[in-house]
């Protein structure tokens, strides 16, 4: 018995061994915590982009595009979803290596990481950061990383009454639209008082629901889209901001407009009367002038 303790002491002295400093252990443990934290944040961002993709999806047109389920699957940015879940698993791995994590069952650690990641994701989405990040990332990412609904062509299904693309020419009652494949369409619509002006629509991407043949398309509904997206994607969060800035989205063209308020009707009557008076004005004046001359 004595021999082993002596052997060990001799070995320690011969090899000049000394205990590793405490800071190394603290640093290692801190690095595991840091890695776990970073993976939770990265996972949260990824999942926030998934939620954002769902929130900004054009659910109102689901019936024209294969139904809710089809659109829900289409709105899944699988790459971000995989990244979010993968990072959550990696977060569990990192957390599992912290000093006292063995006292918890791995499933509880994973659930904790998933709850933290999801909570962060909802927070980031609500704060608007996810949308801003999406706006920055989407144009710079390969299309396979985006949700199918953000891909070129997803909203371009003429057989279902949907086309989308960039407005390359604007006429008073129609636009020339160039879709993702480069094909041009003449989209006719009835001009409405609150429809976007040519300056507001020209060069922008729009989605159109309607009917038509191979070249002409009669629009029933037009929506303008986010400019930064690769595909045509309706902006919902910035809708109010853009609308306030003069960009109208989701304009129904042929549908019956809601009845105008009495005050609005009164204003319109007033404007009409003024217009008539102006038109009458010069005529009356000329009559007066000619009478004077006579």
């Amino acid at each position: 018995m004595e021999q082993i303790s002596e052997q060990i002491l001799n070995e320690i002295k011969q090899r000049r061994l000394s205990p590793r400093p405490r800071w190394q252990f603290l640093l290692l443990n801190s690095l595991w915590w840091l890695a776990a934290g970073l993976t939770v944040v990265a996972g949260g961002l990824s999942l926030a982009l998934v939620i954002n993709s769902f929130n900004t999806n054009d659910w109102a047109w689901a019936e024209y595009n294969g139904g809710w389920l089809s659109l829900a699957i289409g709105a899944l940015p699988l790459a971000w979803l995989a990244a979010g879940l993968g990072l959550s698993l990696f977060g569990e791995y990192n957390l599992h290596h912290t000093k006292n994590a063995y006292r918890w069952k791995p499933i509880w650690i994973l659930l904790t990481v998933l709850i933290l990641t999801s909570g962060l994701a909802f927070g980031l989405e609500r704060s608007g950061l996810a949308e801003e990040l999406d706006e920055v990332l989407s144009p710079n990412l390969p299309s396979f990383l985006l949700a199918p609904t953000d891909q070129e062509g997803f909203w371009n299904k003429p057989e279902r009454g949907l086309i989308s693309g960039k407005v390359v020419e604007e006429k008073p009652d129609s636009v020339i639209l160039e879709d993702a494949s480069g094909k041009t369409w003449q989209v006719e619509f009835e001009q409405e008082p609150d429809a976007p002006t040519p300056e507001q629509r020209l060069g922008k991407k729009i989605k159109v629901f309607g009917s038509g043949d191979a070249k002409k398309f009669k629009a029933k509904q037009i929506k303008t889209c986010s400019l930064n997206k690769v595909g045509c994607h309706l902006e919902t969060k910035t809708n109010n901001k853009k609308a306030a800035a003069g960009q109208v989205q989701g304009v129904k063209l042929n549908d019956k407009q809601p009845e105008k308020k009495e005050a609005d009707k009164h204003d319109e009557r007033k404007v009409d009367e003024e217009r008539i008076n102006k038109q009458k004005g010069p005529k009356d004046n000329s009559e007066t002038n000619s009478a004077d001359r006579e």
């Binding site: 082993i4 002491l9 590793r20 069952k105």
Partner: protein, 192 residues
């Protein structure tokens, strides 16, 4: 002699603090745990003396090198058992390749048979060697918890700290291990 008596009165934590200042004090830690760990490794793997000495030597060097990692978050005995256990596991493959049995001391088998649910006539017919053989046939994850619980007399928290598994998992493993050991004994020796 008086000095040695002083060290015996000191707690593990006090000895660790002394060993961190002067390596000579580490010998007292080795002396305190050498016999306990030797018995544990014999029960777990029935390694021969040479193997045990090799494992213990490497384990104690690791303990010394990592002394600063021990911070009182768990019992020192749990921490040192953990290092010895891990060292033994990594050496076990070599031992396993040449076949092994395990060794139970005089009183060990009585401790175990009192815990497992076997018929009285089976229990009376059992001897140390039969239990040792049945125990050796159990998967390591059950064997290690049974040995730590009933032969090393560690509580759930200590076993959890030694094996780095949650206490709930330890409880499950102990229950399943007891059932498996009882079945093993009944199957091989119960009806004969």
């Amino acid at each position: 002699m008086e000095q040695i008596q002083d060290y015996r009165d000191k707690s593990d934590e006090e000895l660790v603090a002394l060993a961190l200042k002067q390596s000579d004090f580490f010998a007292q830690i080795v002396k305190r745990y050498e016999a306990k760990l030797t018995a544990y490794l014999k029960r777990l793997f029935n390694l021969n003396r040479e193997d045990i000495e090799d494992i213990l030597q490497e384990a104690f060097v690791k303990v010394y090198l990592n002394l600063n990692e021990f911070d009182g978050d768990l019992k020192f005995s749990s921490w040192i058992y953990r290092i010895a256990h891990n060292q033994a596991i990594s050496s076990w493959r070599k031992v396993k390749a040449r076949g092994f049995s395990i060794s139970l001391d005089e009183n060990d088998w009585q401790e175990l048979t009192a815990e497992i649910d076997v018929a009285d006539e089976v229990s009376r017919g059992l001897d140390r060697q039969l239990i040792a053989e049945a125990l050796a046939r159990l998967p390591l994850k059950y064997r290690e918890v049974l040995i730590l619980k009933f032969l090393e007399e560690k509580n759930y928290k200590e076993i959890s700290d030694i094996l780095k598994k949650p206490a709930g998992t330890i409880a499950t493993l102990i229950n399943r291990g007891k059932k498996l050991l009882a079945e093993e004994l009944k199957h091989h020796y119960g009806t004969d």
